[in-house]
């Protein structure tokens, strides 16, 4: 039972309005094709510390653990500790960033590394601002192809010599047919569940007419195909 009374809820709402007024300059949404998407960061910072002493990184295993420990901080978005290259790259939410998320200053980051036994040389440090939305978010949603694997039993040359183009055009046709098959399943399903058709405002009569026409034109030659919707659940095959 929720013991909070209206007064408390009202206070929450008031507090939130105040919070929103203070933070109204935060841009937390981007617009793409008229739709809004929540993107919590705008400009963040990337710092690369080079020339780290190998004895401080110890080995690849300890470098990986250092990376994990850096990532424990919410203010650090990404960290990469490269033992071989003696380099640490950190993308973080700086304390002057215009967002509501946890922040960290460069000095705090340097102190954090020092606590982990890694002492950076600020003369071998490069920093830059990072456009989180354009450089990170967009890339991760639409990464480019950087290599190519042919289907099993074929070489890359065979694949690129006509097979690939054929596969892609067949796939396009198949994807369309798949959607049509799904729509046909939905029509059939509504016939079985008229209460749903009513709720959705779909005219069952029109579907029944369509079915009748299909049956009468082709008669017994029409093979009712299973939709295969039950399918191979395991790994979706």
């Amino acid at each position: 039972m929720d013991k909070r009374g209206d007064a408390e809820t009202y206070t929450y709402a008031k507090e939130l309005e105040k919070e929103k007024a203070d933070t109204k300059e935060y841009q937390e949404y981007v617009e793409e094709n008229g739709k809004k998407f929540y993107v919590p960061y705008r400009t963040v910072r990337e710092v690369i510390f080079s020339g780290i002493k190998k004895e401080e990184l110890i080995d690849t295993e300890h470098a990986a653990r250092l990376q994990y420990r850096l990532m424990l901080k919410d203010s650090i978005l990404f960290a990469k500790v490269e033992f071989v290259a003696r380099r640490i790259k950190v993308t973080y939410n700086p304390d002057d960033a215009n967002n509501r998320k946890e922040k960290i200053s460069l000095q705090q980051l340097i102190e954090l590394l020092a606590k982990e036994g890694v002492h950076v040389d600020e003369r071998q440090m490069q920093q830059r601002d990072v456009d989180y939305y354009n450089e990170i978010y967009k890339y991760q949603f639409n990464p480019p192809s950087i290599r190519e694997h042919p289907p099993y039993g074929y070489t890359l040359e065979e694949w690129r010599n006509g097979m690939k183009a054929e596969y892609e055009s067949r796939k396009e046709v198949y994807d369309k047919a798949k959607l049509e098959k799904f729509r046909a399943f939905q029509e059939e399903y509504l016939l079985q569940h008229p209460e749903l058709a009513k709720e959705l405002g779909v005219d069952i009569g029109a579907i029944q007419e369509k079915e009748k026409k299909r049956a009468s034109l082709l008669g017994k030659l029409v093979k009712k195909k299973e939709t295969g919707e039950k399918g191979f659940w395991f790994h979706g095959i």
Partner: protein, 641 residues
């Protein structure tokens, strides 16, 4: 601290001749045989035969350390030593013979042509998103649609506690994730699991499902407790219409004690599923000493509802989070441990030899790909991640595991040989070779033993020739799939398994992660990203009128639920298939045949001291080739080659 030989009074075990039990030599206290492998001295452990080496993590400090897989009696164990936290000993696989048999089918898949991040995964598993090192495409992708839940299970870390931020992406944000998944190359994700929290908390769930269908997913599973769907059957109809293929429903046991989560609501959920014609996969999380005594009953329950239950997917527990070592030893169970219990609890009707490793099935996919020149799903996960078998329920209620009439291993080998021969051949030659291969299928099927109601050769030919869902749908209807999926935790962690994982999670920032990094290290993945993209609960409440945390929670009326006709029928009128004479007779035959086979096996004598157990290179794929990181690649850039 991890286990060390100094941390216990004495780890020496001996047999008490009076009681014929294993006892602690110093104290005389009886030691459960199941827990005996945890109680050896380090000296004894180091003397045991080594099977393989891998890379793993220290459960305490997360240092990447070496893991040694070794043989302790019938168990495959993993030992790992952290210079800061000491030893960790854990069960990896509770059947040595099964381990050696299944690892023959391990193979590497293709990974991603358009990985999320350009890095070689040198610091795996802390470099995560799909990277160049990853070796499997997305076989099944989980998308978290909310972290709200109507239950508050004590062991669950997935749901938002009171006052915690609410993570609930908008429809367009989810659609963006769907499109990204469908653009994966070379093989787009084709199976989606909508999960949470509890996804049915969202009123717009049918719209989300339809969006996923329109994005092109063939198979959409809904991971749910089933409670809301049982109470509101009209929701189930809407979801089926929207495109949900299967409910992936938690089901931890048949009894109330084993399954307090949804025991009382399951009958209504089954009834609603029948009405909506929506199939169900039962998903028990198996924990020793909690519900491991009900595995046979769960399968029996599924058989009694085989008209609507398509599969049972057992998930041996993943012990994420801190827990006392004694409790971990008691509760740990692995895939073979569960398989052996099933053999016992089904009176030998389903034996451990009836199970095959998931990568077995890769042979079929590679055959179809080589024949058609089209990418097909590649089940290239690590062999220790999952296992499965099919049960056919014949007309006379006889239960027939698929392996009784199909030589699955032989068939896969045959198909793989055909794939190898097809290399460099023309389309026409490939087709002729395929026809010959299909004609040979009969060699692998024992027609006298196959279910009377199926022509299996015809069914398999249809699957291989049509290679689409409709044929496989026919296959499913007369059978029940039993699966095992063992997700890792920090104690059993094997980085080679992670790099081959094909069960992934989609994140709101576009990245896709393997299950066993997303959930085993939530502090740097799952929880971290959800905090970034979540809304503070105060703000959520203010922007969602009529919502408060307490109102989300479900309260059941047990008496009312137990009084329903569905409840009575479901739990009180079930057939016990495993005690039927037709199945008992078959099981007796199997036991006799096994006993004869055991007598023929030669005993290999070993000399004293350490014996390294090696499988000849011609037989097995070793995952530990390729250098320090175990990635198998000289160019991975980890610096260890």
């Amino acid at each position: 601290m991890g286990i060390s030989s100094a941390s216990r009074p004495s780890d020496t075990l001996q047999i008490d001749e009076r009681t014929n039990t294993v006892v602690n030599a110093a104290t005389g206290a009886q030691v459960d045989e199941l827990q005996a492998p945890y109680h050896r001295t380090i000296e004894e452990i180091e003397a045991m035969p080594v099977i393989d080496k891998t890379k793993t993590v220290c459960p305490e400090c997360k240092l990447i350390i070496d893991g040694i897989l070794y043989k302790d009696g019938d168990n495959v164990m993993i030992r790992k030593y952290c210079p800061e936290d000491g030893w960790t000993i854990e069960k990896y696989w509770e059947d040595y013979d099964m381990y050696m048999r299944m690892r023959n089918y391990n193979y590497y898949g293709r990974g991603f042509d358009n990985p999320d991040v350009i890095n070689k995964g040198e610091n795996c598993p802390f470099d995560c998103a799909m990277c160049l090192r990853h070796k499997s495409h997305s076989g099944l992708v989980n998308v978290v649609v909310t972290n709200r839940c109507h239950l508050s299970c004590w062991y669950c870390f997935f749901y938002a506690k009171e006052g915690e931020p609410v993570y609930e992406p908008s429809k367009q944000e989810l659609n963006k994730m769907f499109i990204k998944l469908r653009n994966q190359k070379p093989i787009p994700a084709n199976a989606l699991q909508i999960t949470g929290g509890e996804p049915t908390m969202r009123e717009d769930l049918p719209e989300i499902v339809t969006m996923a269908k329109e994005a092109g997913f063939d198979q959409i599973q809904l991971n749910t407790t089933g409670i809301n769907l049982g109470l509101h059957p009209e929701m189930m109809v809407k979801l089926r219409y929207a495109g949900v293929s299967t409910l992936y429903m938690s089901f931890d046991g048949v009894s109330k004690r084993a399954n307090p989560k949804n025991h009382w609501e399951v009958p209504a959920t089954l009834a609603a599923a029948r009405k909506a014609n929506l199939s169900i996969v039962l998903v028990p999380t198996v924990i020793r000493t909690i519900n491991d005594h009900e595995l046979g009953s769960i399968i029996n329950f599924a058989l009694n509802n085989v008209d609507i239950v398509r599969a049972v997917n057992f998930q041996p527990v993943s012990l994420v989070g801190r827990m006392p070592a004694r409790l971990r030893e008691k509760q740990r169970i692995t895939i073979p441990g569960a398989i052996k219990l099933i053999e016992k609890q089904t009176n030998g009707v389903i034996t451990k030899e009836d199970w095959f490793s998931v990568p077995y099935v890769g042979g079929i996919n590679r055959f179809i790909e080589a024949l058609t020149g089209e990418y097909k799903y590649d089940l290239s996960i690590h062999f220790a991640c999952g296992a499965g078998t099919y049960l056919f329920l014949d007309k006379d209620n006889k239960i027939l595991p698929i392996t009784r009439f199909l030589d699955a291993a032989g068939l896969m080998e045959h198909l793989q040989n055909v794939v190898n021969e097809m290399q460099g051949k023309s389309k026409l030659e490939r087709r002729l070779m395929a026809i010959k291969a299909l004609l040979d299928i009969n060699k692998f099927i024992d027609k006298e033993k196959q279910p009377k109601s199926i022509n299996f050769a015809k069914l398999l030919t249809a699957v291989l020739m049509k290679h689409d869902f409709s044929s496989v749908g026919m296959f499913q209807m007369k059978s029940l799939f039993l699966g095992m999926m063992h997700f890792q935790d920090e104690y059993t962690y094997d980085i080679r398994r992670v790099e081959k994982c094909d069960i992934h999670y989609s994140m709101p920032d576009g990245r896709v992660l393997p299950f066993c990094t997303f959930n085993v290290f939530p502090e740097v993945y799952r929880d971290k990203i959800q905090r970034q993209y979540a809304i503070p609960s105060k703000e959520w409440e203010a922007t969602h009128p009529n919502w408060n945390y307490a109102a989300d929670k479900y309260r059941r009326d047990i008496k009312a639920l137990e009084a329903t006709p569905e409840y009575q029928k479901t739990y009180n009128q079930a057939i016990d298939f495993f005690t039927l004479p037709v199945n008992a007779a078959e099981a007796a035959k199997m036991r006799a045949s096994k006993a004869r086979a055991v007598q023929k096996i030669a005993v290999v004598e070993t000399s004293g001291g350490t014996e390294e157990v090696k499988t000849p290179a011609s037989e097995a794929v070793s995952d530990s080739e390729g250098g320090a990181c175990g990635c198998g690649r000289d160019d991975c850039g980890c610096g260890g080659h």
